[in-house]
Subunit: 242 residues, 2 copies
Amino acid sequence: MAYEFFYWPEIQGRGEFVRLALEDAGAAYIDVARGLESEGRGVPAMLALMHGEGTSHLPFAPPFLRDGKTIVSHTATILLYLGGRVGLAPGDEDGRLWTHQIQLTITDIVKEVYNSHHPIDEDKWFHEQKDEAVARAAVFRRDRLPKFLGWFERILAANPAGADHLVGNFVTYADLSLFQLIEGLRFAFPVASERELASLPRVTALHDAVAMRPRLKAYLASERRVPFKETGIFRRYPELDG
Amino acid sequence: MAYEFFYWPEIQGRGEFVRLALEDAGAAYIDVARGLESEGRGVPAMLALMHGEGTSHLPFAPPFLRDGKTIVSHTATILLYLGGRVGLAPGDEDGRLWTHQIQLTITDIVKEVYNSHHPIDEDKWFHEQKDEAVARAAVFRRDRLPKFLGWFERILAANPAGADHLVGNFVTYADLSLFQLIEGLRFAFPVASERELASLPRVTALHDAVAMRPRLKAYLASERRVPFKETGIFRRYPELDG
């Protein structure tokens, strides 16, 4: 049976990390909120499940995944659940947990990317908190971006199986997620990202290798891949880059 | 063999969620960074492990746990690892993942609590970003706190095994973590927290029941429990409450 995936249809957002894993694995899945309301899909179907009676594992927020009776929310937990099932995670507990820890560090920087343009109020516009965003983004570029990206470079260098992958000697969902993070950072902070990546050869090489994976390449060129835009997590505001 | 737990010794912080699980379970553990440097412990031992060569699973930040050769970082992942081993998580995959999802939602609100006093720069003082913190804390109290706490109330009400526990019919680490969250919120935002909790009987009752657990009660009264203070995550700044 196909996985049912639930996320906002108009943006990449946090859901994109799950979409990349499903696409790269060639897994059968339905992107429910992008479906037709006349067929019982669309955003209303997603919200009904989130707010519905009779759901004991109520998601706090999208994305979430339904697999038969199982509902799993939080990007990193969905990937933890899917990883072994679709061949994108190690089979042993130590490897599975390490892959998950890397994903949670990506969760953390993604939250900080969001806060770089919305440091004060999620429900207000960027231009209503622009001064604060400019101040926060400067700290993000100066302190946080090098700290996070430098850590990925270090764990690639420390991988006993070689620096081609984050975990072991094959591609995991963590590799796909690091690719997506770099894509997003290059969109949102083109100047700062290139400055950092210039000294991070392993991260850059991993990004480039993931981009060449056949199923992922086909997905990225398809209409299923929503473009980056100024309603998502990664937003290009020139005032925040430099 | 005793678990080796690594976290900053002077604060509760994110590590406290792990300490509560270890203490409530009566697990044998060493709080390494609180040990003596002359015995190879203390903060230097923690930093050496984080930055050391020969560690392939380099933690991004404390807390982390060592169990023999296994190193696990990120509060929620440590609890995922420990939960089944110390009797504080269900044995089945669905239950284990649900408990983890709840913990990750606690991770998210804890990050927002931190941002309420440090919305701009982690390395500057509160008074250097006070205006922004006042603005962010108002949004946190008005929008975010009710959204998070209301979700915990709803999942308690939706638990098929009853509202005494977040997962199933016994205490998990998620219950202990919700207790700690409420403790922290009451310290940092006494006015706003009591206003919210007044309409959340299930969350309040769970907090009170956890507080009565014998081993936890003994721990909370001991010197091992670091007090809340203005260097941790939960900070009482009257300007941010109301």
